[in-house]
């Protein structure tokens, strides 16, 4: 196998998959860092967002144009989910919210199955030939995925570092009591967080759907690698989630050298176990779980 073959058939798909995981893991890390619970409905929220994008695309829109719209719609849905379920439990032990999020996951999935059915589907049909860039083969959708992820990560970082409400989110994650003493409105930060998380979920579900296929269980299958990525990078750290996502994605693709391809999905699980044993705070020293 030549170096180019390795790049084209293993590393590039790994990076694309990892970039998708990264976007999901950022959402998980934001919920954990700011709202302090593990959000198990994350994957199914990604499924819902992906299918909302499908509905928009079915009306004749280019899928990549439908994406930002679907992100906005899912952002509103995510705020609604928080208001309808998690908000009631916010003063109770966090484990109740974690369990409730599992219930929300099942509900969201049921909605997808009732509305769109259980059969796999795609955004666009037909075979797309990859373009060659200095020997590297990239399909337009893969290039779009990578560009979108870069845009999302840079945009989110700028928002968190430079804007008033981005700083309020970081403050709430850093020291919630002091943030309240400084006059930061907890409810507004919570709403903002859910809006961002809903949008990120949609982006990850959409990009997985456009690079493979859409089905009602896709998000649930995303959950484990996304959590592995968030924990690997250090929970509560955006850059950590990106790094973790890339590592998990690339490791999954490279795992076929070592184990049969059916075990690809188990790689994330193995990786998660190893991190928890060796470095539970993650590569970038996240908050202790």
């Amino acid at each position: 196998m030549t170096l180019l073959d390795f790049l084209n058939f293993y590393l590039v798909p790994g990076i694309v998959l990892g970039a998708i995981y990264a976007v999901g893991a950022i959402g998980i890390t934001l919920v954990f860092g700011i709202l302090r619970f593990a959000h198990f409905a994350h994957g199914d929220m990604a499924t819902l967002g992906a299918f909302i994008a499908l509905a928009l695309a079915a009306s004749g829109m280019d899928p990549w144009v439908a994406l930002p719209l679907a992100m906005a719609i899912t952002a509103v849905i995510a705020i609604g989910v928080d208001r309808s379920f998690y908000d009631y439990l916010s003063r109770r032990p966090k484990i109740l919210t974690v369990m409730a999020s599992l219930g929300v996951a099942l509900m969201l999935r049921a909605v997808v199955q009732v509305v769109w059915g259980v059969d796999p589907t795609t955004y666009v049909t037909g075979i797309v030939r990859p373009e060659e860039y200095f020997g590297i083969l990239l399909r337009p959708r893969e290039l779009n995925t990578l560009l979108t992820v870069v845009l999302i990560v840079v945009g989110l970082e700028l928002f968190l570092r430079k804007s008033k409400w981005g700083k309020a989110m970081r403050a709430m994650s850093d020291n919630p009591d002091l943030a309240r003493l400084s006059g930061v409105d907890n409810r507004k930060v919570t709403m903002l967080t859910w809006a961002i998380v809903g949008a990120l979920c949609t982006a990850s579900g959409f990009m997985l759907g456009i690079n493979t296929e859409l089905h009602s269980m896709m998000g649930w299958q995303l959950l484990l690698p996304m959590f592995a990525a968030a924990i690997l990078g250090g929970v509560g750290r955006v850059q950590g989630a990106v790094l973790g996502g890339l590592i998990v994605g690339i490791t999954e693709e490279l795992s076929v050298f070592v184990v049969p391809a059916q075990y690809k999905a188990a790689t994330a699980f193995a990786l998660l176990l190893i991190i928890l044993l060796v470095r539970p705070r993650g590569l970038l020293n996240g908050k202790v779980l």
């Binding site: 970081r170 403050a171 850093d174 009591d177 002091l178 943030a179 309240r180 006059g183």
Partner: protein, 234 residues
């Protein structure tokens, strides 16, 4: 009329009363210190002012308005800022971002407020891009005070600002407290280092078991034999 007038306040965090009747006043541009043995209710008395306590008796008047039972964020907007003893900075944010968070409720141009804070804490100017969590204990305390001063309060509440600091930093914090007062802010602080605190304050209160025991100017309390024997270790 004093800026802060706390009269016969009783209350606690839960159902039990920790304060059994505490009365404290702070005049404009005055530094008032609360000292007393462990468990005397010093910090609790201060938290009562900031609305962090269930007050079941007495009243708290600030700047001519009764604030008993107000929520902390309302009290903040009225002009009282509180610096907790621990976890009083955003560790993973820079010094400057800490100050920005301090001014979160203010709109418009804050450059005058930043100038004032950096003037009071010149050491922090060079460290404005450092993470607050990476600073020394004394400098972290300055960041915490600076954050509270960003809202331009009339009264600053400091909960044991010198706890765990070296004598050098303790002197520096006291000096800064005086500077803050000279800039027009009244200060109420709780101190573990009773002797040093009484020597530098304008007036002091000695609390014991949740009630007033002695009060007077710092010098008078230091000279009081009973106070010296009871709380200051002779």
């Amino acid at each position: 009329m004093p800026l802060l007038d706390m009269r016969d306040v009783r209350g606690g965090y839960g159902d039990a009363d920790i304060l059994q009747g505490v009365s404290i006043t702070v005049a404009e541009k005055e530094i008032v210190v609360i000292v007393g043995p462990n468990g005397a209710g010093k910090s609790t008395a201060m938290k009562a002012v900031f609305g962090l306590l269930n007050v079941r008796g007495g009243q708290i008047v600030f700047d001519g308005e009764e604030i008993t039972g107000w929520a902390p964020n309302r009290i903040v907007q009225r002009g009282v800022c509180y610096v907790p003893q621990v976890d009083n900075v955003f560790r993973e944010m820079t010094v400057h971002e800490n100050f920005e968070m301090g001014g979160f409720l203010r709109s418009g141009d804050l450059s005058a407020a930043y100038d004032r804070v950096y003037q009071l804490f010149p050491d922090l100017k060079a460290k404005r891009r450092n993470l607050a969590g990476d600073l020394s204990g004394g400098q972290r305390q300055m960041v915490a005070m600076g954050r509270a001063l960003m809202l331009d309060p009339k009264l600053l509440l400091l909960d044991e600002p010198t706890a765990g600091l070296s004598p050098k930093y303790m002197e520096q914090i006291f000096q800064i407290t005086r500077d803050v007062r000279d800039a027009g802010v009244s200060i109420l602080l709780v101190e573990q280092h009773a002797k040093q605190a009484l020597a530098f304050c304008d007036r002091g209160y000695v609390l014991a078991t949740g009630a007033n025991r002695h009060e007077g100017t710092g010098q008078a309390l230091l000279a009081d034999r009973e106070v010296a024997e009871m709380f200051l270790g002779g």
